[in-house]
Symmetry: C3
Subunit: 345 residues, 3 copies
Amino acid sequence: MTASYRLSEIASQLGGRVLGDAEVRISQIASLETAQPGQISFLTNSRYRSQLANTRAGAVILAEDDAESTGLPRIVSDNPYAYFARVSALLNPLPEATPGIHPGAFIGANTKIDATVSIAATAVIGEGATIGANSVIGEGCSVGANVVIGCRARLYPRVVIYHDCMIGDDLIAHSGVVIGADGFGIAMDQGRWIKIPQIGRVVIGNDVEIGANTTIDRGALDDTVIEDGVKLDNQIQVAHNVRIGAHTAIAGCVGIAGSTSIGCYCRIGGSAGILGHLNIADHVEIAAFTLIGKSIHEAGSYAAIFPFSTSAEWRKNTVHLRHLDELVRRVKALEQEFETIKQKP
Amino acid sequence: MTASYRLSEIASQLGGRVLGDAEVRISQIASLETAQPGQISFLTNSRYRSQLANTRAGAVILAEDDAESTGLPRIVSDNPYAYFARVSALLNPLPEATPGIHPGAFIGANTKIDATVSIAATAVIGEGATIGANSVIGEGCSVGANVVIGCRARLYPRVVIYHDCMIGDDLIAHSGVVIGADGFGIAMDQGRWIKIPQIGRVVIGNDVEIGANTTIDRGALDDTVIEDGVKLDNQIQVAHNVRIGAHTAIAGCVGIAGSTSIGCYCRIGGSAGILGHLNIADHVEIAAFTLIGKSIHEAGSYAAIFPFSTSAEWRKNTVHLRHLDELVRRVKALEQEFETIKQKP
Amino acid sequence: MTASYRLSEIASQLGGRVLGDAEVRISQIASLETAQPGQISFLTNSRYRSQLANTRAGAVILAEDDAESTGLPRIVSDNPYAYFARVSALLNPLPEATPGIHPGAFIGANTKIDATVSIAATAVIGEGATIGANSVIGEGCSVGANVVIGCRARLYPRVVIYHDCMIGDDLIAHSGVVIGADGFGIAMDQGRWIKIPQIGRVVIGNDVEIGANTTIDRGALDDTVIEDGVKLDNQIQVAHNVRIGAHTAIAGCVGIAGSTSIGCYCRIGGSAGILGHLNIADHVEIAAFTLIGKSIHEAGSYAAIFPFSTSAEWRKNTVHLRHLDELVRRVKALEQEFETIKQKP
């Protein structure tokens, strides 16, 4: 059961201006289409005003411009989407984890684990590791030797952090995340690959979230760095010595090759890729499925998506891509011959 | 050691018409090329009839049209490939798991676990979870609070299912699968990302198989839904609030962005992607490496693959893609000038 | 603390010619830019000679051609990059694992585990498994029934190896690796997918490294094979019955579909893909993000990358791809009409 709040209580905690019945009780958040009485919904785009007319929601969050679009009890905010996020967090607090170390966990020597930390059965904490206040370590997590984790971290089951990595406050790491595995460093010698020891660490700032099965490799010589506020979706691969700037958000299945540096406030679409040793400026947006093969020095939006069509259309058009250079030559030849004709008397 | 069956016994269990010696004993399945006496092989494509002549197989499964292509003992079926699958299942039953909870497993309060369930050492079952008859939970699995799993589920080692997810009968989930991690929901507010709580669930129908390290995120408000008979290969990412229709099969490394709805009986090739908030009709086939950026309303086959060539050829042709618009204008200009010339007396 | 070595001691262990003060003590490796006294750096590309002038390194590894480019103590090698890898391994030995089975591990019946093997808490070793001398099995690893692992294997936490797989000496498998899960084998029958049992194994040679969260499926009938010296980065998907030839190196996020055979000494870039049932010759290089859809019979370099641009440029140019066939026809028409004109008297 989630708790319930009066609209006035919500606004007194989170700000915003209440219009209509401030005493209505709200216990959950929902979309305009599915909301029931007792639930609060939100309008973030005036295009959906028509849904507002039919919603059964008990209250709505909306922007100043939409303030008079409904007679329902409502909270007016200058950022309704962020307000919705805050209301949802208020109504859906994470389950409290009981502080303490489960007897089925394994704790190495010389660890510094705050008394408020919760460690689940089958978690393994390595020698010399430090875990800050109110952190929660799920079952099956492996925290390597000398790892430092800040306060309020939440490691879902089966997260692995290799030795010596440093992590700030408020980390959320979902199941299957691997932080600090060896980067892909090999040198060819007389027909065999020799492994290059990966002696850097992964260093992660505050307020970072990492999605399920995402991997972040440790540095080869220096560190791999994830700055404050970075948000990573699932199944992302971050190679050794990458730096991801503060507040950059990266969608699922992206691969970032070694030693690339990405700026702050970038947004990278799903399954995109960035080659190694590049620099990407701040405020760059990269479309889904786009490979970035050169550094980007200007903020802006970049893309490289091959447009889809029916397979028949695709075959018909695509066959010419292998002859595009020839086509360009043919056009040039026509232009030249044409010029000759025009000059004829 | 696998058991052995007479050809007649196989046909009496699985149907089909036996030709030739029905008493031959069969203990394993193999390809035409590698089969040994005592093994049964199959011909699913008349193109490979030549292999039939040389096979050492003790018996063969084939279609009506090929029934007289060999003198070997044989079973005639209208779907030899499916028949082969059934024979293989008969000859290679899964190892029986001993019912019971290993003393090295950790079981939360108020669970409902059928007496026939097998739970391995180091598995952790959350408070209030339900697990149906004859299910097998491998080592290191994490089943969250209030999860419901149907009958005959097989969770290979290290599967994680987050709290409250609902799963039908006959699930197969391979190692590293993560079901119900938070979707990628964030709202920008004054220069920082705020997390949007993901309060939906993952709801999975009957007879679903999920490949190793595939991730299926829980819904933001409503549920993420995987319908009956869906087959997912490895390393697939299914974002929050996606719906995958019944009997759709998806190959490895595909990414499906949030709130997209995919129809029934679709087939999606490896490393393909589908952007968010789209609708894909039933019976759509999507080629490998294809990004779908708009809804598809018609059944059929779709593609967007950039054709490969030697790097030298690729460089020569691809450089023109950045000037394609200019090329089209040049052709248009030629056409117009040409028209002018033709109109000259 | 890493140990320290005199330059002369390093050369006597690893070869190479010492120039300058052979008595200088070296305790770590670093890049030219960040190296401190007491650290050794390396020059692998004459382009970076300028960095050599300013380095604070105590010593340098370089090639014969660069031997006189600095007065620093130095080791001359015919392969400075490989030499650097060897020095780094000398200075950064893996932490010794204590031999023995942790009481929190679970060991099945009839296993053959060498007395020098180290098995961590929460690891589970299946019935009949064999593990060779000096191997280290991390916490949460799952080694299936009858698996054979050679000597000096290092399984980082949470590696899963399914039953019956065979692995040579010197395997390194990073966290989240899944070896031997079922391949994606299904047959459509009367509107439902039937599972095809995957009865092959994964067979891995000597000296193989596998990156975090990479998956290698077991064969359908025959085995999936990874030959000696193969190096796989993170998040790679290797489907059933694939063969990867010796000393091939594959970057992150690559997907290889079923029954494809890749030659020796290939190099495959990140997020590339190879369709099923193909043959790739030895010494083939495949660019990042490239889908290979046909067999490659010649060594060489291949690519299929769509070039990125600003989204505005991309839109302007890409719209024509759907009309490329029409454009080619228009050019052809112009050429023909032009020919007619030229033939006019």
